[in-house]
Symmetry: C2
Subunit: 317 residues, 2 copies
C-alpha cells in the first residue's frame, strides 16, 4: 500500500466544494470549472537545501510549498480552488507527515482550497504542488501589459526573506524571528492580486528577486523600468539588523519575498494604493515604466546603482 | 535566469490548441475547459533509482514521466489536453535536457497534448508531471463501480516491465530488448480507456502490480475478485526468458505495466474485448467479481495461489 500522507493531508484540509466531482482516491481527480471561468494553473517544486534549509520544520515546509504556488495564482489575479501535492521523502515518518499536512492545511483552509490528488514517493526530500484557480476571460494579470508611463508598485516589504536566510547562520536566531518568519511562512498576496484585476496592466510575484522578476515584465511587455532605490519598501526588522547597503541589496536581489510587483496607469496608482492599503498589505510606488529594455536602479542622485546580486538563479547558486 | 528546459520542451512539443489562453511564460498558465466537459487531473513523480534505474536514457525518462500520467487519465477514460512538468536535476546539462524534451514530445505530440507550464529546480533527479484531460459529466471510469458477477479483464500483457527490470542486471541485455522496452517506454492505454466509457463498471491502471491495483477496485467497490492465474496474459518475450512460476509472479506482482484492468458486466465482456482488439491492445478475461473483499488468485485446480510478491510498495521496497 502506498503511504497515506495524501489521506492525512486530506483529513487536515477537508473542504467540501461542489466543483469537486471526485477527489482523492481514484486514478485522477475529476473537477468541474464553473461556467464563465477560465482556469489558471501553476506548479512549483521546493527542494530541501535549495528552497528551504535542511532542518526546516515540517509545518513550515507544508505551508511554504503551497504558499509559493498560491503566490503564482495571486500574480494572475486568480481565485484559488484546488491543489495536488507530490511529495518525495526519504522515509515514512508519521510525525513529519502530520507536520507537513498541518502546515499545508493551515494555509489552504482560509481559501477553501481543496486537495484533490497527489503522489508520495521515496527519495530525497522535494515537495511539488500544482494549484488551480479561476479567472474571468480576459481578466488574468499577465506580464505583458506594461505601458510606457505606467507606475511600478510593489506590495508589502522587500528583502526580509533573504535577510532571514542570512540570519539562520547566527548562533542565536531569536532576534531575527520576524525575518525568519518571512522566509519560512511567506504570505501569498491572493486578495491583493484579485483586487488588482482591472487596475494593474502587468503583474508578477517576487520569487527570484525584484530586479530579476521585474526584468520578466520588461521582456514580456517590450519596455524598460526605472526603479528608485530610495523608494523600495523595507521593514523595520530589516533596517534594524542590516546596514542600508545590505538592506538595499536584499530588497533588489533577494528572492523568496512573494510580494506582488505590478504596473498601473499613473491615474490609477492612487486607487491601487488605497485598495491594497484596505487589504492590509499596502503598496508602494517604486518606479516608472520607460522606453527601452531591462531594469535600471537609480540612486538618490539619479545615478545608476549596480546591485551586488541580480536575482536568485537556482542553477548558478 | 531560470534554465530554459521548459522552453526547450515547448519548442519540441509546439501544439496549437484553442483552449490554451496563455501557455508557458507567465506566473501561471490560463486555459479554458470546453463547455460540457469536466476535467480529470493527475500528478505522478518519477525518482531516479526508484522509478527508473540510474543510467536510464534521458529520452526514456521524458517519455515515461508523461506515460505514467497519461496512464492515469486512460484509467479514467479521459482525453488528454494539457500537462505541466516540474524537473529537479543536479546540473544543467543541455544534452540531457534535449533528450528528456524529445522523449516527452514523442509521446505528447500524437495526443496533441500541450505543455503549458513547468518549473526547473536544482537537486536530486526527479520528474513530476501533472496532466489534465476531459471527460463528460458522469462518464469518468471510477474504481468504485464493480458489481458482483462482472467479468474482470486486462489489456495487453502483464509482467514484462518487472521482468525487464530484472534483466538489466545481465551482462548482455540485448536478448531482453522487448522486456526492457516495456519498462522504459510504457504505452498508456489512452484510446482503450476512452473506448471503455459506457462499458466498464470500474477501471484502474496497473502501476503497482495487478493484485495490489485490483485490490483498490475491491476496496472502492466493496467486492472481492477471483483471478484465474492460468488466464493472465503473458508475452512470448516473458515466457521465453523466464520460468512459468517467475512469469506468473511478475504478472501478479510486478509493477510498471500500465495496462488497464477493468470490470465489465458479463453480457458486455465480448463487446469490450472486440472493441479493444480493434484498437490493437486487446483484452483478456482474467477473473470474476465476487462477494467478499480483496483479491484471490486461483490456480488451475481452483486452489488459492499465494504470489511471492504482493505489489510494489515504494516505501517498503
Amino acid at each position: 500500500m502506498e503511504f497515506d500522507l495524501i489521506d492525512r493531508i486530506r483529513r487536515h484540509t477537508e473542504v467540501n466544494r461542489d466543483d469537486v466531482v471526485k477527489g482523492i482516491g481514484d486514478d485522477a481527480a475529476v473537477v468541474a470549472v464553473p461556467a464563465g471561468r477560465e482556469l489558471a494553473i501553476a506548479v512549483d517544486t521546493l527542494v530541501e537545501g535549495i528552497h528551504f534549509p535542511v532542518g526546516t520544520a515540517a509545518t513550515d515546509i507544508g505551508w511554504k510549498a503551497l504558499a509559493v504556488n498560491l503566490s503564482d495564482l495571486a500574480a494572475m489575479g486568480a481565485t484559488p480552488a484546488w491543489a495536488l501535492l507530490a511529495l518525495t521523502t526519504p522515509d515514512a515518518d508519521a510525525a513529519f507527515f502530520d507536520g507537513l499536512a498541518s502546515g499545508f492545511a493551515e494555509l489552504a483552509t482560509p481559501y477553501r482550497l481543496a486537495l484533490i490528488g497527489g503522489d508520495t514517493t521515496r527519495g530525497p526530500l522535494t515537495v511539488t504542488v500544482a494549484v488551480h484557480g479561476f479567472t474571468a476571460p480576459g481578466e488574468a494579470l499577465l506580464r505583458s501589459g506594461a505601458r510606457v508611463g505606467d507606475v511600478v508598485m510593489v506590495t508589502g516589504t522587500l528583502g526580509d526573506a533573504a535577510a532571514g536566510l542570512r540570519c539562520l547562520a547566527e548562533a542565536d536566531v531569536s532576534p531575527y524571528a520576524a525575518l525568519i518568519e518571512r522566509l519560512n511562512r511567506p504570505t501569498p498576496r491572493v486578495s491583493a492580486g484579485q483586487a488588482l484585476r482591472g487596475l494593474a496592466t502587468a503583474c508578477i510575484d517576487v520569487s527570484d528577486g525584484l530586479v530579476a522578476d521585474l526584468g520578466h515584465i520588461c521582456a514580456a511587455s517590450g519596455v524598460g523600468v526605472d526603479v528608485e532605490a530610495a523608494m523600495l519598501p523595507r521593514s523595520s526588522a530589516l533596517l534594524t539588523h542590516f546596514t542600508d547597503a545590505d538592506a538595499l541589496d536584499f530588497a533588489l536581489g533577494g528572492g523568496d519575498d512573494y510580494e506582488l510587483c505590478f504596473t498601473v496607469p499613473a491615474d490609477l496608482a492612487g486607487e491601487a494604493g488605497a485598495t491594497l492599503a484596505r487589504l492590509g498589505c499596502g503598496a508602494t510606488r517604486i518606479g516608472r515604466v520607460v522606453e527601452g529594455a531591462g531594469v535600471r536602479v537609480l540612486d538618490e542622485r539619479g545615478q545608476v546603482y549596480e546591485p551586488t546580486r541580480a536575482g536568485w538563479n537556482h542553477f548558478a547558486a
